[in-house]
């Protein structure tokens, strides 16, 4: 949130082209999966996900339409920054193209800090819906997409000032409260049942109440209708006094669709011998969410000698919600930095598995002079990655693993905070309903 005395850079983009982009704040750093972004009127906002927890701070704004951005710039950054962006974009009054440093004044209006907080939370929620590192192996519970999606709809409605809609114009893609409500209508009844349940911690009840009222208001504004929305409206209407709903058990309410039992690898082929094995190469950027367990060692491989052949077997622990039909992942295998070859993977139970004959793939293992034993001095260097063809944007940077660790730590920290008896107290940001539900569902499991 804006704090007095904080300095903000307002710079015009170097390319200085048409209506050149104006940047507010520092250029974001870190890999794609550490950035929470929001598409708003006339700009893209970016927050670092791994920033100080509890204080998301001000985002970096890439303003491409300064005129449209004026509707919220003042409320997010204060008037001085809004002025500076205006000057920068119009090239007035003097030397503005070079950029200026603006000391952020204390934003007095209550709504401004509310907007900054709401926007940061909305961006983080969108990030979590794509990158949350759910892992059975590491005990990081996944977030129920419907519960998260509905809370994002509520937050979008709360942050309506950021978006700009007009008749003929297309709305910003993140101005999607109506779409989110429509998409996740089935989860709405779950939330209503949760909200109606007696013996709710007061904070959770308040949180649910506020989310549901925002959803109702957003649906009403957009003219949405449907059985779930009518039920919601009826429930909200008779809230005085609050009816005693049926007690619900969160664990049952949000129970995961299936149990999870890591299948043991296939029995060893008779006469085979392990030459080498390893783990790693789980680059989240290369496949969509919901396919692979987020643990770093979810990807493992074994090279066996089967007679004269050398076979590689790849096992990838699937995400709990991995699609059982449709898209198929592949493993990308590289020996000693050679050309990569693909091994198709099949989802069976909780594992994506695939195997391939290395020599028939054109990969040669240096197995030592006797062609039977790997040379102890020079074991082949095998790299295995997993990806979805057509989606894969290419491998990430070598330093990404450390960032993935940090993201996992963040998720664990947040879930731990959500599991506390009073999750809303303390320095940590308020948990999402999906996090509270996730914690409850996990407790049920054990």
């Amino acid at each position: 949130m804006p704090e007095a005395g904080q300095d903000i850079q307002v710079t015009r983009a170097e390319d200085g082209t048409v209506d050149g982009t104006v940047r507010v704040g520092d250029e974001p750093a870190g890999p794609d999966f550490t950035r929470a972004v929001l598409d708003v009127a006339g700009a893209v906002l970016t927050w670092p996900v791994l920033g100080a927890p509890g204080a998301p701070g001000l985002p970096t704004a890439h303003v491409h339409d300064a005129g449209r951005a004026q509707q919220w710039l003042w409320a997010l950054y204060g008037e001085r920054v809004a002025d500076a962006v205006h000057d920068c974009a119009t090239g007035t009054p003097s030397g503005a193209s070079a950029g200026v440093t603006v000391a952020v004044e204390a934003v007095e209006a209550v709504e401004a800090t509310t907007l900054a907080g709401g926007a940061a939370r909305l961006a983080f929620g969108h990030w979590a819906s794509r990158w949350w590192p759910a892992s059975y192996m590491e005990g990081t519970a996944g977030l129920e997409p419907g519960v998260l999606g509905l809370e994002l709809a509520a937050l979008t409605h709360r942050c309506h000032q950021l978006f700009d809609t007009a008749f003929d114009d297309q709305p910003e893609p993140d101005d999607c409260a109506a779409e989110l409500i429509a998409e996740h209508q089935t989860a709405l009844d779950l939330l209503v049942r949760w909200w109606l349940a007696p013996s709710q911690p007061a904070d959770t009840a308040r949180h649910l109440d506020s989310v549901l009222r925002l959803i109702d208001d957003a649906a009403d504004s957009a003219g949405l209708d449907g059985p779930a929305l009518r039920h919601l409206r009826a429930s909200l209407d008779q809230d005085q006094p609050r009816p005693a709903g049926t007690p619900v058990d969160l664990g049952t309410l949000f129970a995961r669709p299936r149990g999870y039992a890591l299948a043991a690898g296939e029995p060893l082929t008779a006469g085979s011998r392990v030459i080498t094995r390893g783990t790693g190469g789980n680059d989240w950027r290369r496949y969509p969410p919901g396919f692979v367990d987020a643990a770093e060692d979810a990807v493992s491989w074994t090279v066996r000698a089967v007679g004269a052949r050398r076979r590689i077997e790849v096992e990838v622990v699937a995400d709990v919600a991995a699609p059982t039909a449709g898209a198929a992942l592949v493993a990308e295998v590289r020996v000693d930095g050679d050309r990569a070859v693909r091994v198709p993977l099949v989802l069976r139970d909780d594992l994506w598995t695939g195997r391939a004959d290395l020599s028939s793939l054109g990969l040669d293992l240096d197995l030592g002079p006797d062609r039977g034993l790997p040379s102890a001095a020079m074991p082949p260097r095998i790299e295995v990655g997993v990806l979805l063809p057509g989606f894969d944007p290419g491998p990430g940077a070598p330093g990404d693993a450390a960032h993935r660790d940090a993201v996992r730590a963040l998720a664990r920290q947040r879930l731990a905070a959500a599991a506390r008896p009073s999750p809303y107290a303390g320095a940590f940001p308020e948990p999402f309903l999906a996090e509270i539900a996730a914690v409850a569902a996990v407790e049920e499991d054990f």
Binding site: V18, V44, W74, R158, F163, Q185, G226, V330
Partner: protein, 470 residues
């Protein structure tokens, strides 16, 4: 900000026009406060982004004076929403449909009082009927009559025969010249600051550069793919109309070598619409009637059909020259688009290209941050995502389709492009739409890929929010 402050100063009673935090909704500002309360046409000094203190005070006064009326507007809106639900009306966004109407009701009746429900009902029915029979259904009925169909068919044949065509060689040279003129307009579009000179755009309109391109398409000019397939076009200019040998002059506005004579047609479906210049009369008007927000502004269906006969046989399927010129500008822009940012150098990129391409780069970085990527390189195993990436490698196809539909919509409404600023706003808006379409497709494709075989409950009563026509 001034509006925000003045709004909050009005006190309670504005809930239905305000957001959850008490600030006015964006639509409240756009549809009510600015056009009906502030009225910049009467107070031009209040139209600026930034107001000096005296103007800001004036603005606050205007809003404060309208306070009672705004409170009444809010009450009417609440009543209309309630009545709408009771009547079972679900089409359209109620804010878009009723905000201004509520302000009128508040002006006429002040707060809703006795009999207000009847007034609300009547108003809603009137809005619902405002389309005045300008519907796809009416078009279907109109074109179902066999006698009428054969007469229209004859009219189309006659209009097509009397087209003014040009010899291929001449047309080719002229079209090339038009494309080159477009480059300098696009460069001017990029000039920073407000004082964009419309002269080069107006010169293109006066010179009939759009018609030149339209006639060149009929003459199968431009070499490019068509030339490569059937041998060089006699007199064709090397490099084709668009400065690239691999591109046909028509940029896929038609799937044929030359645009065919339009048929009458009797049906259409959004998912399978052919290339714009291959569309039937029915398909062309179907798009107009289906996507129109303000149908009451359209001519009646028989009039629409009558005019479309001439329009569909005119160069580029458009009557107005400024709109035809926009096709040339759009084409020139589209062939230089680089959504994948692989920097394939295309000669003659202009300031307009740099602006749109930098937006594509920003979009790409947002999509990476949202884990919604497509592989930049062709991938035979890539399935539907690879197909989406392939579309990004030929961005002019999607761009020209969307552009043509917008221009056609304007032509039907007699809304020419009067200056370069409005032309650029439209060209830029189309680029944005193409980008948003891509994002929506990636999202849909990923959703399908991630769908589990496990039984899921189908969402009920999904509204058509965000539906976009092609």
């Amino acid at each position: 900000m001034v509006i925000d402050r003045a709004w909050r100063g009005l006190g309670p009673g504005l809930d239905s026009l305000s957001g959850p935090g008490g600030a006015p909704l964006t639509r409240t500002v756009k549809l009510i406060v600015l056009p009906l309360v502030v009225r910049p046409s009467l107070h031009p000094e209040l139209a600026a982004d930034f107001l000096a203190p005296p103007q800001a005070a004036r603005l606050e006064t205007l809003i404060r004076e309208a306070g009672a009326r705004l409170v009444a507007t809010a009450q009417w809106f609440t009543l209309l929403k309630k009545t709408r639900r009771a009547l079972g009306i679900v089409a359209g966004n109620p804010q878009d449909l009723y905000f201004q109407l509520c302000f009128e009701l508040a002006t006429e009746h002040e707060e809703p009082s006795n009999g207000a429900e009847a007034v609300a009902r009547a108003a809603l029915v009137e809005v619902a009927n405002a389309a005045g029979g300008r519907t796809v259904e009416a078009l279907k009925d109109h074109l179902a009559d066999d006698v009428r169909r054969s007469r229209l068919d004859g009219d189309l044949a006659a209009a097509w025969e009397s087209r003014q065509t040009a010899p291929a060689g001449d047309a080719d040279v002229a079209a090339r010249a038009a494309a080159q003129a477009a480059a300098s307009v696009l460069e001017a579009c990029g000039a920073p600051g407000p004082e964009r000179d419309s002269a080069s755009f107006e010169a293109m309109v006066e010179g009939g550069h759009g018609s030149l391109l339209g006639r060149a398409l009929w003459a199968r000019a431009g070499g490019g793919v068509s030339g490569a397939v059937s041998g060089a076009v006699p007199g064709g200019v090397p490099g084709g109309v668009w400065g690239r040998d691999d591109l046909p002059a028509h940029l896929k506005l038609t799937e044929h070598l030359v645009p065919p004579r339009p048929e009458v047609g009797r049906g259409a479906s959004t998912a399978t619409l052919p290339a714009p210049l291959d569309r039937t009369l029915f398909e062309r008007l179907f798009v107009v009637l289906q996507s129109s927000v303000r149908r009451e502004e359209l001519p009646t269906v028989p009039e629409l059909v009558r005019r479309e006969v001439g329009r569909s046989c005119a160069p580029l399927g458009l009557h107005d020259e400024s709109l035809r010129v926009a096709v040339v500008l759009g084409g020139r822009l589209a062939v230089g688009l680089d959504p994948l940012g692989d920097g394939d150098s295309v000669p003659g990129r202009t300031a307009a290209h740099r602006a749109v391409n930098s937006r594509w780069q920003r979009e790409a970085s947002v999509l990476r941050a949202r884990r919604m990527t497509v592989s930049p390189r062709p991938d035979p195993d890539g399935g539907v995502l690879d197909a989406l990436a392939r579309d990004l490698r030929t961005p002019w196809v999607a761009y020209m389709r969307r552009l043509w539909v917008r221009l056609h919509g304007r032509d039907v409404r007699d809304a020419p492009l009067n200056d370069m600023a409005s032309a650029w706003a439209l060209l830029d808006g189309v680029a944005r739409s193409v980008m948003m379409d891509h994002r929506a497709r990636v999202r849909a494709a990923l959703r399908t890929l991630s769908a589990t075989a496990a039984p899921t409950v189908a969402p009920t009563a999904a509204p058509a929010a965000g539906q976009r026509s092609s």
